[in-house]
């Protein structure tokens, strides 16, 4: 990256194990101040563990990390006074109302009683939760809870914010709102470390991305660089007749590039294609008389990123997914 901004997060050789699990196995990160930095990886990659160490919740086994210039091991208190954590589990108190949650945090951060009430009402209004202010958080929808969670993180504006999978489980509209909020925070000067499982989310928000798997950074770059290494978009095709998939694969292979057969027996995708070549591929299928149920041109999925980056991880991940579902 060409930026010369001072670093908000500087991590070298960070490690953490739980028993035999090497949750974080040597991570290096350099996050420029003022940026949104995406840590992208599948479930169990070690994202949350990295955040928990950087937020001084758990000590690392090895490595060094400085957050806004402060060593996380020896200057924990200084780190805590500059950062906010929006955890993967909603980090708000479900047994209190939304307003009480924000007042509680205001008081804990040193606002006077009246100032914390004013601040709570201001945030409730800004985040569109005024109407639910007096309701217990356990009755909130996922999107409302997430917005409250983020509001709770900016009762006093932090210099750095950890956002751990802020949109997992949210509907597209709530997801868009959370993205808007993240952009507004960045515009206000807050650096954000964003953990996510969605390439689209990292692409939407992040200035830089580290792809992490099994506790290691396996790729790093801007969203553009990352996508270029994968292809600008994936063409997905579903055929009317699964029996024709072999023929279709041959045609797409010639017209576009390497073909991936999906779990769906009628579907296949090409992970390396630009839009016009993808269009050629679709018309080649049509000319050959193969019936197409649907096709789409989209962002590469995390699976495709993994496949492109490592070649073999995708299969192993499928295997673990099967284990989980059985």
């Amino acid at each position: 990256m060409t930026t010369h901004a001072p670093l908000a997060i500087e991590v070298t050789g960070l490690e953490k194990s739980f028993g035999d699990t090497h949750a974080v196995a040597g991570v290096d990160l350099a996050v420029p101040e003022g940026s949104i930095y995406g840590v992208l990886g599948p479930n169990g990659a070690g994202k949350t563990t990295v955040i928990r160490m950087l937020a001084t919740l758990i000590p690392p086994d090895a490595g060094t990390a400085r957050v806004l210039g402060h060593d996380i091991r020896t200057e924990g208190d200084a780190v805590r006074s500059l950062v906010s954590l929006t955890g993967q589990l909603a980090s708000v108190d479900e047994e209190l109302t939304g307003r009480e949650n924000l007042i509680l945090l205001g008081r804990l951060l040193g606002l006077s009683r009246s100032a914390s009430r004013t601040r709570a009402d201001e945030l409730l209004e800004a985040f569109g939760i005024s109407e639910a202010a007096a309701r217990l958080v356990k009755h909130y929808s996922g999107g409302m809870r997430r917005r409250l969670d983020i509001a709770a993180s900016i009762v006093v504006t932090p210099r750095l914010m950890f956002l751990d999978e802020p949109t997992t489980g949210l509907d597209p509209r709530s997801r868009g709102q959370v993205w808007e909020i993240a952009r507004a925070l960045q515009a206000g000067g807050t650096t954000i470390l964003l953990c996510t499982q969605y390439l689209e989310e990292a692409d939407q928000l992040a200035d830089g991305i580290a792809v992490i798997d099994r506790g290691k950074v396996i790729a790093e770059g801007t969203p553009g660089q990352l996508k270029a290494s994968v292809g600008t978009g994936g063409l997905k095709v579903r055929l009317l007749d699964p029996g024709q998939r072999g023929d279709a694969a041959g045609i797409l292979e010639r017209a576009v590039g390497a073909v991936v057969l999906d779990a769906d027996p009628a579907a296949l995708s090409v992970s390396s294609a630009d839009a016009s070549r993808a269009a050629d591929g679709v018309s080649a299928l049509a000319r050959a008389g193969l019936g197409i149920a649907e096709f789409s041109l989209g962002q590469p999925s995390l699976d495709e990123v993994f496949l492109a980056l490592t070649g073999h991880l995708a299969e192993e991940r499928d295997a673990t997914l099967e284990e989980q579902s059985s």
């Binding site: 805590r80 954590l85 993967q88 909603a90 209190l96 951060l109 509209r173 925070l185």
Partner: protein, 278 residues
Amino acid sequence: MSTATPVTAGADTAAVRQAIATTARPPRPGPLSTALTFGWRGMLKVKHVPEQLLDVTVTPVMFLLMFTYLFGGAIAGSTSAYLDYTLPGLLVMSVLFTTVYSGVSLNTDLTKGVVDRFRSLPIWRPAPLLGSLLGDSVRYVIAGTVIIVVGVALGYRPDAGVTGALGALALVVVFSFGLSWVFSVLGLLLRSPNAVMNAGFMGIFPLTFLSNVFVDPATLPGPLEAFVNVNPISILATACRSLMDGTPDGEAITTSLVVAAALAAIFLPITTRLYRSR
């Protein structure tokens, strides 16, 4: 998601920007103020879920009615004589049962993400624990008051009047401060709130029955009597009886306080260490 987004639909981006811009970091609050804020949180929880008080008051009231009217005559000759004997003990039982919930609510917190938030704040680190104890004390006082009021309604009259009853209540609450750290440790070690509840009652239930709360230990076989006599719950019940009867038993009161202090001295540091590293 554009500027046309109605205000009610979700976050208002312009207002969010505004809200971010307006804050300066206030000076950090002191330890006491922080602990009191957590105490306030504990009280809000009691306010929102008053049913949790039902759990801990209904059982002792049930025991009070059952023992007084079913066994009272057989044990003490008459129900009113038995009520005089057992009420201070039931006060002890009622409040001590409540302390199990300190561990349960701590464990509930841990299964949610909110503890991570507290631990990431620049606050005095034992504050959440000490503060929730303040909130818990409200529960202790309510549980104790309910038993005394029901007892009075059934005809119990403490010789030392209101002062004696208040003295006994205060002693039990102070003892509970010490005991609750034991359950806090359980709350930090066990996996689910239910496990804490079960383990807690598995301990406190037999200990309460193997005390002088319900029966005079003189009637028990030798080894059992010896155990009952050294059981801290017996000593606490004796101390409460003496306070309510207007004949304060200095030794029992002192022993109760020493036991409470010892429990706190052992289990409070363990609790803070576990809380920090979880």
